[in-house]
């Protein structure tokens, strides 16, 4: 029988995480450090606002680009990063940062256009570039560099075909951040180039160093060429609400809204009302969760190092990305055996790109008790292999 599936999709490998999940889901007594979302429930005042929204029968479609009220709150919120956007023309509300990536690629790319991606990175970047007809050009990073991309790494890969550079700090899966000076150097390389910077800052609230998050769009001359992606999932523990946003130059946002309106019409209206409440009065909840993650981050890092596992100190998101090279197994084999022999789920680094080989992603968005149990399983496992 004829294969009806499009060539692009046939050739696209399924997510490495998906495969791993399918196995883990069938097993009993599994302890996990494999999630990519907060363990906290959405703060009650935000949930309460959504309930109220339903009670008032606000269950209709909304404006394609998102409720103006929400877009105004988003513009106001972005000013904390030194960014200034016009709510009416430079902000779009989406169904999450993943949609933003997809829509940005489709809005920008002509066949054959190149997009620079820093690996290891979020699983959806490469497929989104490919589905939009673009060519992903990966820049590997490693632990020796703290998984930071440098201006030189980027410059070396720029070609006349480079349409966009996708940056994602704080980074999923490595937890890496870029310091202001490093980001400034990257901006200096990109400023005069004819290209667009896509900056996925979904973890912007979750940094643990002394300095707060810096957006590349905040440097002179960069806002004009940068699409900033953010959302509610990580900071406000709202993953299931499917609510994100994107800010950028008006012409690019208008192009993205054009795609968004045909595909999604609008983000869920109930989530949008909840989003307004989150931005207006959610800051203390965000800070309380950030503090919790920070404690767990330090706890997990110390425990990993004490059992002799090499791990660089990640200062963002809620992941550690320890090296398992000393055990002589590939990331996949290590994770498979860890799952089957110790009933502990972590994610192989290779799920996030080839340069993730030799690493595993451990999430610390779990209670301390869960982390303790997980690490004790890990300790027993590495003593046996």
């Amino acid at each position: 029988m004829k294969n009806f599936i499009a060539k692009t999709i046939q050739d696209m490998p399924p997510s490495g995480i998906r495969r791993f999940f399918d196995v883990a889901a069938t097993m009993k007594d599994v302890v996990s450090l494999g999630t990519g979302e907060p363990d906290f429930a959405t703060p009650w005042h935000i949930r309460e606002e959504a309930i109220y929204t339903l009670e008032r029968r606000r269950t209709t479609y909304g404006a394609n680009a998102g409720m103006v009220e929400l877009r105004r709150e988003i513009a106001r919120y972005m000013s904390k990063y030194g960014l200034s956007y016009d709510a009416e023309t430079q902000v779009m509300v989406s169904v999450g940062a993943s949609e933003d990536i997809d829509v940005a690629m489709r809005a920008l790319l002509n066949p054959g256009d190149e997009v620079l991606l820093v690996e290891p990175c979020f699983v959806a970047y490469k497929p989104c570039v490919v589905m939009a007809g673009g060519v992903p050009v990966t820049i590997p990073t490693g632990a020796e560099n703290g998984f930071r991309v440098t201006a030189a790494d980027i410059e070396a890969r720029l070609t006349p075909k480079t349409k966009a550079v996708l940056l994602s700090y704080p980074c999923n899966p490595t937890g890496a951040i870029l310091e202001r000076s490093e980001l400034e150097a990257v901006a200096a390389v990109l400023r005069e180039r004819d290209l667009v910077v896509i900056s996925d800052e979904i973890y912007s609230e979750l940094t643990y160093g002394d300095a707060p998050h810096v957006s590349i769009a905040s440097f002179p001359g960069m806002a004009e060429k940068t699409i900033v992606i953010n959302g509610f999932s990580k900071a406000f523990a709202m993953t299931g609400w499917r609510l994100g946003f994107v800010c950028g130059p008006a012409d690019l946002i208008a192009a993205m809204v054009k795609i968004h309106q045909y595909v999604l019409m609008c983000a869920p209206i109930i989530a949008q009302y909840a989003g307004i409440e989150a931005l207006r009065s959610g800051a203390p909840s965000v800070e309380a969760m950030r503090k919790e993650y920070d404690g767990r981050r330090r706890f997990m890092l110390k425990e990993l190092r004490e059992m002799g596992i090499d791990c660089f100190e990640a200062k963002g998101a809620f992941y550690l990305f320890p090296s398992i090279k000393q055990f002589g197994l590939s990331s996949e084999d290590f994770c498979d055996r860890l799952l089957h022999e110790a009933r502990l789920a972590v994610v192989p680094g290779t799920a996030f790109g080839d340069s993730g080989e030799g690493h595993v992603r451990c999430c610390y968005a779990y209670s301390i008790d869960n982390i303790k149990e997980a690490l004790s399983r890990l300790r027993n496992f590495i003593q046996k292999i």
Binding site: F21, A25, T35, A124
Partner: protein, 161 residues
């Protein structure tokens, strides 16, 4: 540092100074010394467990008694509040703003126990003008902890991107 240590211990008194030090990014000795100081200064007055009494199958009763009193000269409400607080069955005494003066939280084995305390001990004290006793029928949240909390579980997928 004090505030952070207290907020951790208020939720989990079983944390060791070593664990607290890691969670807060401090030195263990510094944490140990700070906790000792907090105990010495009676800022930390004791350690206990949050018990869901309904689930523990306890039949003990709790009542909140609103008490109106005549303040004594030179002592205000302190003298009478301390006297009430000395009874073992009294769990808490607060001076309140509003319609009454002291809120007294009391525990007893039965209604009889509590009635006896109110009529024979409390009302018999000088300067007590009136009392109004309210029995606790069910506890939903105590010490900041929700009992039977629907938020308690982990509904997340084992692995996600």
């Amino acid at each position: 540092m004090r505030k952070d240590i207290l907020s951790l211990l208020e939720r989990d008194a079983k944390l060791t100074p070593g664990e607290i030090a890691v969670l807060l990014g401090l030195e263990e000795t510094a944490v140990r010394e700070e906790i000792e100081a907090l105990e010495r200064e009676q800022i930390i007055c004791g350690y206990g467990a949050f018990v869901n009494r309904d689930r523990a199958g306890s039949d003990d009763l709790t009542a909140l008694i609103e008490v109106r009193v005549t303040p004594s000269r030179g002592q205000g409400f302190n003298h009478i509040a301390e006297r009430i607080g000395r009874f073992d069955e009294v769990r808490a005494v607060y001076l309140m703003s509003g319609g009454y003066d002291l809120a007294v939280l009391i525990e007893g084995k039965s209604i009889k126990d509590i009635s006896y305390f109110v009529s024979d001990k409390l009302s018999a004290l000088d300067s007590i003008l009136s009392t109004a006793t309210h029995f606790v029928m069910k506890r939903y949240k105590d010490h900041g902890v929700m009992f039977d909390d629907a938020d308690g579980g982990d509904e997340r997928m084992i692995v996600s991107p």
